[in-house]
C-alpha cells in the first residue's frame, strides 16, 4: 500500500446538511416561512441517496444522521487520518435541483453561510467551494463576488449534469468572475435532473446514474474545450471532481482526431485539446476506475502524458476505497508528493493565503 504523506490537500470532502431546517437560520423571513408553510422537507439528490452504499463507507456511516454531517467525524476519519493540512469542502446538498432562480439563490446563499458558520469557522484546515444558483447567471456572479471576500472560499462549485453544456457562452460571466477572483471552477459529479441523467435518456437505476457521471464529464470537457472557454480565459482552471480519470487518454485521442478535421467549425481552438487539458484541467483522485494491479494504472498514467493532472482526494464520506488505501499501489514518492501537495497548491492559489476569518458582508 502506498502511504499518504503529511501536509497534503484533500480536494473533495462532503460535509452534509443534516436537514433543510439547518438552513433556516440563514434564510430571510420570507424564505424561512416558505420552507415551513409549504412543507418542504429536504433537498437530497438522487445522485447520492443517503443510504446508498456509494454515499458512505460503512465505517464512516454514523449511527444517526447523515454521513458527513458531523465535524468530529470528518476530522477523525479524513483530516487527521490522512494528515492533510487543508481540506476543501464541496457541499452536495441538492439546491441546484429547484427550478425557481429566486429560491435557488436563497438556498445557495444559506448553504454557503452555513458552511462558513458550521465548518470553516470551527476547523482551520477547512476551505470551501461557493455553491451557485446556475439558474441565474447574474445571481451566480453576485454570489461568487459576495463569498469570495472570505479568502477561505477557494473554488466555485458547479454540477456536471446541469441545464446546459458548461462551455455555452451564457455561462461565461461566471467564468470571468471566477478567473478575476483567482477561483478555479470545480465541476462535481451529480445531476440537477433538469435533463435526463444520461445522454440517451432516463435509465432505471442509481448505479446507472452513477456510472453515467464519467460520460457526462467527457461531454462537458468537449464543450469547455471547443466552445473556447480557455481561449477567452487562459488562466482559468477547472477541476473535475469525483469524475474518474482513466477514461481521459482515449477520450482525448478521439477529440483530437476529430478536431483536426473539423477545425474550421471552432477556429478559436488554437491549441490541441490535449494541451488545453494539461494547462487548464485537473482531476480529483477518487474514484480510481482501474483494476487493482499497479501495472495497469502506471500504464494509464503514462497515457495521460502529464503528472500534473491529479489532485489528492478522499471523497469523504463516499465509499471509494477501504482502510487507508486512498493512494494506488506502487506510486513513486515523487508522484505522491505531486498529487498530494504540489498539484493542489498549483491549482488553488488561495490555499496558502491567510486563513483569518473575514466577514462576508
Amino acid at each position: 500500500m502506498t502511504s499518504p504523506i503529511a501536509g497534503g490537500v484533500d480536494c473533495d470532502l462532503h460535509p452534509a446538511v443534516p436537514h433543510l431546517t439547518s438552513l433556516l437560520p440563514y434564510l430571510n423571513d420570507y424564505w424561512r416561512d416558505q420552507v415551513t408553510t409549504r412543507g418542504m422537507t429536504d433537498l437530497v439528490s438522487q445522485s447520492y441517496p443517503t443510504n446508498s452504499p456509494i454515499s458512505s463507507r460503512p465505517d464512516w456511516r454514523p449511527a444517526q444522521g447523515k454521513p458527513g454531517s458531523r465535524l468530529e467525524d470528518m476530522k477523525a476519519q479524513a483530516l487527521d487520518r490522512f494528515g492533510v493540512s487543508y481540506g476543501i469542502c464541496n457541499p452536495l446538498y441538492g439546491v441546484q435541483m429547484v427550478f425557481s432562480e429566486d429560491m435557488a439563490d436563497a438556498f445557495c446563499r444559506a448553504l454557503n453561510d452555513w458552511l462558513v458558520k458550521e465548518w470553516l469557522d470551527k476547523e482551520p484546515r477547512l476551505r470551501g467551494s461557493i455553491v451557485i444558483p446556475v439558474q441565474s447567471i447574474e445571481k451566480s456572479v453576485a454570489e461568487i463576488e459576495r463569498c469570495a471576500k472570505d479568502r477561505r472560499f477557494v473554488q466555485v462549485l458547479m454540477l456536471v449534469m446541469g441545464d446546459m453544456p458548461l462551455g455555452k457562452r451564457a455561462y461565461w460571466p461566471i467564468y470571468a468572475a471566477a478567473e478575476r477572483l483567482g477561483l478555479p471552477i470545480g465541476v462535481h459529479a451529480g445531476s440537477n435532473y433538469h435533463n435526463p441523467p444520461t445522454s440517451v435518456g432516463w435509465g432505471s437505476y442509481h448505479i446507472e446514474d452513477y456510472v453515467a457521471q464519467a460520460q457526462a464529464f467527457q461531454t462537458q470537457l468537449t464543450s469547455l474545450i471547443v466552445e473556447g472557454v480557455f481561449a477567452r480565459h487562459p488562466k482559468l482552471k477547472m477541476v473535475m471532481l469525483e469524475s474518474g480519470f482513466t477514461w481521459l487518454p482515449s477520450y482525448l485521442w478521439r477529440l483530437h482526431k476529430f478536431w483536426r478535421g473539423i477545425r474550421m467549425e471552432t477556429p478559436w481552438v488554437d491549441r490541441a485539446p490535449l494541451e488545453i487539458v494539461r494547462s487548464n484541467i485537473r482531476f480529483s483522485l477518487q474514484p480510481i476506475d482501474a483494476p487493482p494491479d499497479p501495472a495497469t494504472l502506471n500504464r494509464l498514467f503514462d497515457h495521460m502524458q502529464s503528472d500534473e493532472l491529479l489532485l489528492f482526494s478522499t471523497d469523504y464520506p463516499h465509499w471509494q476505497f477501504d482502510g487507508d488505501a486512498v493512494l494506488p499501489e506502487g506510486m513513486s514518492s515523487d508522484l505522491v508528493r505531486k498529487i498530494m501537495i504540489d498539484n493542489p497548491h498549483a491549482t488553488y492559489g488561495r490555499l496558502k493565503q491567510s486563513a483569518l476569518e473575514e466577514t462576508t458582508q
Binding site: R169, E227, G228, V229, A231, R232, W259, R260, G261, I262, R263, M264, T266, P267, W268, D270, A272
Partner: protein, 137 residues
C-alpha cells in the same frame, strides 16, 4: 530538378485545376486568381486524393464567436477527413508541426522558351502565341 510543361496558360484559367502524373507521382496544378500552385495529390494523413477537395478560405479567430475569414479559395480541404492545407505552402492548419502537404513550386514561363504541342520538357525553339505553365519536379 526537371522542368515539365503542364499546359498552355489559357487551358488553366483562374479557379480551375489540372490533374496529372509525372514520374508516377500524382500531382495537381491550381490556378488561384491568376497565380499557379502545385501540390502532390496525396494527403500526408492517410493518402487520400487531397487535390480533389474543395477550396475554401482560412477561418481564424482571436476570440470565440468572432471569425476572421480570409484567403478565400487558398485553403484546400482533404475530401476525406477535411484537413485544411494552404495551397501556397502545403502548410496544414490542424497540426502544423507534424503535417505538411508536399508543395511543388510552379512557375509561369514566358512562351518563347518552350514549345507548344506534346508537352515536352526540353526546350525547342518554336513560335508560340501564349504562355505555358511549367513545373519543376
Amino acid at each position: 530538378m526537371t522542368r515539365h510543361v503542364i499546359a498552355p496558360v489559357d487551358e488553366l484559367p483562374p479557379g480551375t485545376r489540372k490533374f496529372l502524373t509525372i514520374d508516377e507521382r500524382p500531382i495537381a496544378v491550381f490556378n488561384i486568381k491568376g497565380e499557379f500552385f502545385g501540390l502532390l495529390n496525396r494527403c500526408p494523413h492517410q493518402g487520400a486524393a487531397l487535390c480533389e477537395g474543395p477550396l475554401i478560405g482560412l477561418a481564424q479567430s482571436s476570440d470565440p464567436g468572432e471569425i476572421e475569414y480570409t484567403r478565400l479559395g487558398e485553403i484546400i480541404r482533404c475530401p476525406w477527413h477535411g484537413w485544411e492545407f494552404d495551397i501556397r505552402t502545403g502548410q496544414s492548419y490542424c497540426d502544423p508541426k507534424r503535417f505538411r502537404a508536399k508543395a511543388y513550386p510552379v512557375n509561369v514561363e514566358p512562351g518563347a522558351s518552350v514549345v507548344k504541342g506534346p508537352y515536352v520538357a526540353e526546350t525547342i525553339a518554336v513560335s508560340v502565341e501564349s504562355d505555358y505553365v511549367v513545373v519543376d519536379l
